[in-house]
């Protein structure tokens, strides 16, 4: 098992965000976590990579429980991960080439020419060849996400996490990001975990969908099963139907 989460709990003050989350993901699987905004999806993703510490529960990455690790121990585990942030989170003082080759350069084990070659290769994969010298401020939102994706996969991680990969993009840019995610899974055979509330994207990029509802995994099904579900909670979410608002509430 690549990722195994057991009885994971996370609270912020009195607010309980995750209340006993259990799931597992096998090597090479493409999974999407869906759920309402503010429901704890991004928190769950950050817990998986150790950016946040849980209040209780276990997170096993290839059998290694990372829940009790300190920051320096986590650095070793994080080498297995790549992560695409919602805002891309590019280092704004570094060029595209320096951003993408950051980890390889910092490790100091790869020759400069080899880093340059691999950066060029992965930029070509995301359709941004020739942008090496550009600064993040010169890129559009879609381009920034592509660079973020290139940075997340250039060192061949085993698991890639995507935090709202298509949020804030126009439909065409969102579609191209979806295609890239599929290409990355196929090219590198990585385990992919995405968090989104974009159902079109979730259907395209995943083989399994986990629905987070009220701090727990409410559904664990294939995309087709989720879309055909008659469960009122799933049906309302998938089809974007809000709870009816009474006249009193409107007043």
């Amino acid at each position: 098992m690549m990722i195994e989460v057991r009885n994971l709990k996370k609270s912020f003050g009195a607010l309980r965000v995750l209340d006993g989350v259990d799931f597992s993901i096998e090597k090479g699987e493409a999974v999407t976590i869906i759920g309402v905004s503010g429901g704890g999806k991004s928190i769950l993703l950050k817990l998986l990579i150790g950016l946040i510490t849980p209040n209780a529960g276990e997170i096993h990455i290839e059998g290694q429980n990372i829940a009790g690790m300190n920051e320096r121990q986590l650095l070793q585990v994080r080498r297995k991960f790549g992560m695409l942030f919602q805002s891309a989170a590019l280092f704004d003082s570094l060029s595209v080439e320096e951003n993408v080759g950051f980890l390889l350069r910092r490790e100091g084990r790869t020759a400069a020419a080899e880093i340059s070659r691999r950066v060029g290769e992965v930029l070509e994969l995301v359709g941004l060849e020739g942008t090496q010298k550009k600064m993040p401020a010169e890129l559009s939102g879609g381009m920034r996400k592509r660079v973020g994706l290139a940075r997340a996969v250039v060192y061949r991680p085993e698991i890639v996490l995507y935090d709202e990969p298509t949020t804030g993009l126009d439909p065409i840019a969102a579609d191209s990001i979806d295609q890239l995610i599929i290409r990355v899974v196929e090219t590198f055979n990585v385990t992919s975990v995405a968090v989104t509330h974009d159902m079109r994207s979730a259907r395209r990029i995943s083989r399994r969908i986990l629905m987070l509802h009220q701090g727990r995994i409410y559904a664990d099904q294939t995309p087709d099963e989720i879309f055909k579900s008659v469960d009122p909670v799933i049906h309302r979410f998938v089809n974007g139907i809000a709870e009816p608002i009474g006249k009193e509430s409107l007043i």
């Binding site: 994080r78 910092r106 997340a152």
Partner: protein, 257 residues
């Protein structure tokens, strides 16, 4: 009122604890991780070269005004020749280190808190961590070493310029006998006065780095959060410099004399 006092005490002790943990992490990083000297050199350039204007103006004008004030008082009792000696001892052991520390806290401390705070609110710190880079290794240690190594140089420059400016004012503006003033200055200025000043600057450099980096790393979300962190970095590092200066003076004079 009691709950507010409790909250303030909890925040203060919480901040102190987290600051101490950051210091421990800096020591761990210095011992275990080889610093990237290119980053340290860049920080030394940013801190040293870019602070020249404020350091030169502060040093020169402090020396000049101290010289003038001392002369006006000493002239009444016919002790003009001791003017430069007062300037030299004051600049070397107290005014040089403290004023340079305050100016660097204002310029560099604010910049560090704003840079790291902006990185935090735009998830760049999280991105660093996902790329297996410890924020203390990558962001804090180069700034800490940069300040630690550059502060003494800036302070010595400030002291030297202050004394030189005072010499010019005393000789050419106030008519003090040059040879006499120089002789008295050399006679009354101990090596220990200068050594005290230089030792203090290492502490002040470390204080500015730790406070500014801590404020940046714990910056609240949003543009207001970055502004808040920047202001607090300058205020807290300045206050810490002023308070620690008194204790350093007492301790160093006891130990060195």
């Amino acid at each position: 009122m009691t709950s507010l006092a409790k909250q303030l005490a909890r925040d203060w002790f919480g901040g102190l604890g987290r600051g101490t943990l950051l210091c421990r992490e800096i020591v761990v990083s210095l011992v275990r991780v080889k610093p990237v000297w290119r980053d340290v050199l860049y920080q030394m350039y940013f801190i040293g070269v870019k602070s020249q204007t404020v350091v030169i103006i502060t040093g020169m004008f402090t020396g000049m005004v101290l010289c003038a004030q001392t002369y006006f008082q000493f002239h009444r009792v016919k002790m003009d020749s001791l003017t430069l000696a007062v300037v030299s001892v004051s600049m070397g052991s107290e005014l040089g280190p403290v004023l340079t520390g305050l100016m660097v806290a204002g310029r560099v401390g604010a910049a560090i808190a704003a840079q790291i705070g902006t990185m935090r609110v735009t998830e760049q710190i999280d991105a660093l961590r996902t790329l297996a880079a410890h924020p203390v290794d990558y962001l804090v240690v180069p700034r800490f070493l940069g300040l630690f190594l550059t502060m003494p140089l800036l302070t010595v420059e400030s002291i030297a310029l202050g004394i030189a400016a005072a010499y010019v004012v005393a000789s050419f503006l106030l008519g003090v006998n040059q040879a006499d003033a120089w002789h008295q200055m050399m006679r009354h200025t101990d090596d220990i006065d200068m050594l005290t000043g230089v030792i203090k600057t290492f502490v002040f450099g470390g204080v500015i780095a730790v406070v500014a980096c801590y404020k940046g790393l714990s910056c609240p979300q949003g543009a207001e959060g970055v502004g808040h962190a920047t202001t607090e970095a300058v205020v807290y590092s300045s206050i810490t410099i002023l308070i620690s200066n008194f204790f350093l003076t007492m301790i160093l004079n006891t130990l060195l004399r």
